[in-house]
C-alpha cells in the first residue's frame, strides 16, 4: 500500500491502537511491537516496523498501566514512528523514529487524563439517571467515552504524522541521528530491565536471562 491510499488506513490503525490501551478491547494491539509491525506491513517496510517496535517495546516493559495512575500511550506514537523510519537506513532512521514515539507516548499519557476528565463531567451530569437505573444513560456514557477516546487517538496519530512531515523537511544530520540511535537502544535496554527488576523476582533471574540471551546471540 503506497501514497495517499495508505494515509487513512494508518490513521485508522493509530485510532484503533489508541482505543485498545484502555477503552476497548485491551487486546495488546497497543503494544509497540504489534502497532509497529502492522504499520510497517501497511507501509511495505515490515523490517522498519519490527525494529522500531522492538526498541519501543522495551520502553513499554517499564510501564505499569493500572487504575488511576498516569502512564504513556505508546500506540499512536509508534505508528507515526514507523512511518518516520520506513525507507531509511538504520543509522539514520531508528533514533529519530523512536524518539518521536517516546515524545508522543508522553503526550498520549496526558491526553488520557483529559478523556477521563471529560468522562467524569458527563458522569456527574448523568448522576440522577444512573442512580435511577436508566439504561440509556449507561449506553450514552459508554459511547461518549469510546468516541472521545477514538478522537484522542486519531488526533495523536495525526499529530505524529505531521511531525513526520516536518522531519522530512528538516531531517537530523547523520551524526546526530546516529547518536540518537545509540541513546534509544541503550535507553530501551535500561528501561526494559529496570521495569522488570523493580516488580519481579529480582536480578538473579535477569542475569540468568542476560547470559542465556548473550549465549544465543553469540551462537547465532
Amino acid at each position: 500500500m503506497t501514497g495517499a491510499a495508505v494515509l487513512p488506513v494508518l490513521l485508522g490503525w493509530g485510532t484503533l491502537v489508541g482505543l485498545d490501551l484502555v477503552s476497548f478491547p485491551q487486546g495488546l494491539l497497543s503494544r509497540p511491537l504489534v502497532a509497529a509491525t502492522v504499520a510497517g506491513a501497511l507501509l511495505g517496510d515490515l523490517e522498519a516496523g519490527l525494529r522500531v517496535g522492538l526498541v519501543l517495546e522495551l520502553f513499554a516493559l517499564d510501564v505499569l498501566p493500572i487504575g488511576a495512575s498516569r502512564y504513556p500511550d505508546f500506540g499512536p506514537g509508534t505508528v507515526a514512528a514507523t512511518v518516520l523510519a520506513a525507507g531509511r537506513s538504520w543509522s539514520e532512521g531508528l533514533g529519530p523514529a523512536v524518539l518521536l514515539g517516546l515524545v508522543l507516548a508522553m503526550v498520549g499519557g496526558r491526553s488520557i487524563d483529559v478523556v477521563r476528565r471529560i468522562n467524569g463531567r458527563a458522569v456527574r451530569q448523568s448522576e440522577a439517571s444512573l442512580l435511577s437505573g436508566d439504561v440509556r444513560a449507561v449506553t450514552r456514557l459508554q459511547w461518549l467515552g469510546l468516541t472521545t477516546d477514538a478522537a484522542r487517538s486519531l488526533g495523536l496519530t495525526l499529530l505524529g504524522l505531521l511531525a513526520v512531515v516536518g522531519y522530512r523537511l528538516v531531517p537530523a544530520p547523520a551524526a546526530l541521528a546516529r547518536t540518537m540511535g545509540l541513546l534509544v537502544v541503550a535507553g530501551g535496554v535500561v528501561a526494559g530491565l529496570h521495569g522488570v527488576s523493580r516488580r519481579s523476582a529480582g536480578w538473579r533471574w535477569i542475569v540468568l536471562g542476560l547470559g542465556l540471551g548473550g549465549g544465543i546471540a553469540w551462537l547465532a
Binding site: G95, A186, L193, V196
Partner: protein, 247 residues
C-alpha cells in the same frame, strides 16, 4: 440454581469495561454496561427491580479489567438471590481490591511482559512477524476463555467467590515473576545484537558508552521520579543541543 443466560454477550461487553472510565466511578459505568443484558434477562418481568439493580451496578468499582468478569458474575448472583442492597455494595467493595491486586500481578507484571518479551526474542532471532501474531492469538484467546470462566466462577459462588479464587490456580501468579525476569534478560542482548544493530551501523563502543551513560544517569536520578523514558529523552535533548552548538 438457574444458569447464567447470555454469558458470551456479558463477556464481550466486559471488553469495554473501561470505555467510560472516570475518576468519580472508575469502572462503575462499564460494570453496568456489562451487567445490563444479564440483568434484563433476570428481571425483565419486573422493571422496578431491573432499574434498581442496574443503578447499583453503575456505582464505584475498580479492579483489574481482565479479572473483572468475576465481580460481574458475583454481582449478578447476589442480585438474583435478592441479597440486600447494602450487602451487594459491600460485596463490590470487597472484591475490588483483591481482584485489582491479583489481576495486576497476573497480567501487567506477569502474562503481558512475559508474552511481549518472548515476542521480542522471536523477532530479534529473525522469525519475522510470526511471534507478533502468536502474541496476539495467545493473549486474546486465553483472555476470552478466562473471562468466560471467571464470569461462571463469580455466578456459581456469588459472595463466596473470594474463597473460590484463592483455591484456583490464579493465586499462584507470583511464579510468573521469575519467567518474566528471565525472558526480559534474554530479550535485551538479542534485541541489541540481532536486530537494531544488525547492519553494523550502530555496533561499536559508542553503544556501550551510551548504555553506561543512560544506566548511570538513570540510576542517579531514580530517587527523583525519573523513568528511563524521560531520561532517554533528556539525554537526546542534550545530544541535539551539543550537535547544534558544534554546527
Amino acid at each position: 440454581m438457574a444458569g447464567l443466560i447470555g454469558a458470551p454477550l456479558t463477556v464481550a461487553r466486559c471488553l469495554a469495561l473501561q470505555a467510560a472510565w472516570s475518576y468519580e466511578r472508575m469502572q462503575g459505568v462499564g460494570m453496568a454496561w456489562a451487567s445490563e443484558p444479564a440483568l434484563r434477562r433476570l428481571f425483565g418481568h419486573d422493571p422496578d427491580r431491573y432499574r434498581a439493580a442496574l443503578g447499583r451496578s453503575a456505582s464505584f468499582f475498580n479492579a483489574n479489567p481482565f479479572l473483572a468478569p468475576t465481580a460481574v458474575g458475583a454481582f449478578l448472583r447476589a442480585e438474583a438471590d435478592e441479597m440486600p442492597p447494602a450487602q451487594v455494595e459491600r460485596l463490590r467493595t470487597a472484591l475490588s481490591g483483591p481482584l485489582g491486586a491479583l489481576g495486576d500481578r497476573l497480567y501487567w507484571t506477569g502474562v503481558v511482559p512475559a508474552l511481549s518479551g518472548m515476542a521480542v526474542c522471536g523477532v530479534a532471532l529473525g522469525a519475522g512477524w510470526w511471534p507478533v501474531l502468536a502474541l496476539l492469538l495467545v493473549h486474546n484467546s486465553t483472555r476470552l476463555w478466562l473471562g468466560h470462566w471467571l464470569l461462571r466462577l463469580g455466578w456459581t459462588h456469588g459472595p463466596m467467590v473470594g474463597v473460590a479464587m484463592t483455591a484456583s490456580p490464579l493465586s499462584g501468579a507470583a511464579t510468573l515473576a521469575a519467567i518474566v525476569a528471565t525472558v526480559a534478560g534474554t530479550a535485551a542482548p538479542l534485541m541489541v545484537t540481532g536486530s537494531a544493530l544488525e547492519d553494523g551501523s550502530l555496533a561499536d563502543w559508542g553503544l556501550v558508552a551510551a548504555a553506561v551513560l543512560v544506566a548511570v544517569g538513570f540510576r542517579w536520578l531514580r530517587g527523583r521520579r525519573a523513568s528511563a523514558l524521560k531520561f532517554t529523552l533528556a539525554a537526546s535533548v542534550v545530544a541535539i543541543l551539543w550537535h547544534l552548538g558544534r554546527a
